[in-house]
Symmetry: C2
Subunit: 234 residues, 2 copies
């Protein structure tokens, strides 16, 4: 084995490590979201606090990834290798936000537990389950360089947007019917918005998988449907 | 002038260009937020649509910055140069989000204009003005490598959080008093949340200025106050 082989081998090892770390970070965020959805159902404050505390591990992993990216970039990588590095740092940043949103869902669940249980929690759970599936799929697309799967994740984001819009309108009517539900429904509105944003981050990751595999080739167009921003006041 | 000087000069030129682009992108986002706050006051749908359309220019600039970062990183930069590159790509990503939030404030203003004017718009404007100042200051800190200014921006984020919490509670009481205001107040809640998030992005940028100047040295601790997540239901 020559010196050159040794250096090349070690670069590949570190790049592999970077991918593994990013995938691990992504799985942590997906699990955090699942756990957050679960504590909303179970009204379990103790478990919610654990989820909030766990977010620090995701943040620490992002720091580690940034550090590894620095080390790799200092070696003056080639174009494809550089795309790996750039994709990893962008994907890690999206995952970090997903972790924040999941922790926020858990945090707001403890606020909800101060009031009697609400019936509309089921809609939130369904929305969140879509987001978890999107996350897991886009991480698999990243792991396998699977552009087709990444494109399906992008296309399916419209489903999350539609489910979010439905839940949003439902919550508005509850608030109008019963003023005492306003504070709790406001928390649910923000929790739903957090999950809708997690869907957007899954889409960002899908677009980075495209960039990783296809380089500067332009992305195919995609439909985007979230009309709650312009929902006409009732 | 030797060949070596020529290469070094040109690297510096491109690095300077990267900083200029990122600062320009930041100023565009700050102006977009200012314009969005203004259209909320003036109830000007046409101007709101222009702001929404302008967001594309910010997104295009982020693409350009990613491209320049690729070109620079391919040259195998040294540690400090690499920190410049990493800081630029992270800061550009934060600015891109700020642009999205500003455009969303403009978008929601057109929904508000479908109903009679609300008195609580003043509080939103005050909150937004704080965020614009934070953005301008943190961009100056980035331009001048001014760690002290960046630290002041981080410390002042607590003011935005406090103003946001106050506005949030105020809006909740309006919703409870008059069910007809619920849809409009929900838009205002999300607009306020968007601005609070812009404050968080200014803080992220401040932390990247620290990383740029100080490297891996740990950040000093900071207070964070946004207690609306756990606001007890009234």
């Amino acid at each position: 084995m020559t010196m050159h082989d040794h250096i090349v081998k070690s670069y590949d090892d570190e790049q592999r490590r970077l991918l593994d770390e990013t995938l691990r970070m992504g799985e942590m965020a997906a699990s955090q979201l699942e756990a957050a959805l679960d504590v909303v159902q179970r009204r379990d404050d103790k478990a919610a606090e654990r989820i909030i505390a766990n977010d620090e591990a995701i943040d620490a992993l992002e720091q580690e990834i940034s550090h590894d990216v620095m080390k790799l970039a200092l070696r003056g990588p080639m174009a494809r290798d550089l795309r790996e590095i750039l994709a990893a740092i962008r994907i890690a940043s999206d995952i970090e936000r997903v972790g924040d949103y999941a922790a926020n869902v858990a945090k707001r669940s403890t606020a909800l537990n101060l009031a009697p249980p609400l019936p509309h929690v089921a809609g939130l759970h369904a929305l969140g389950t879509l987001a978890v599936a999107q996350l897991r799929d886009v991480l698999a697309a990243y792991r396998d360089n699977d552009v087709e799967l990444a494109q399906r994740v992008r296309a399916r984001d419209a489903e999350i947007d539609t489910a979010y819009t439905g839940l949003f309108r439902e919550l508005l009517t509850y608030m109008m019917e019963d003023a005492r539900s306003i504070t709790a429904c406001t928390h649910l509105l923000f929790m739903a918005k957090n999950i809708e944003r997690i869907g957007d981050h899954a889409t960002n990751i899908a677009e980075n998988v495209w960039f990783l595999v296809k380089g500067e080739q332009p992305l195919p167009p995609r439909e985007k449907r979230d009309d709650t921003n312009t929902a006409s006041p009732v």
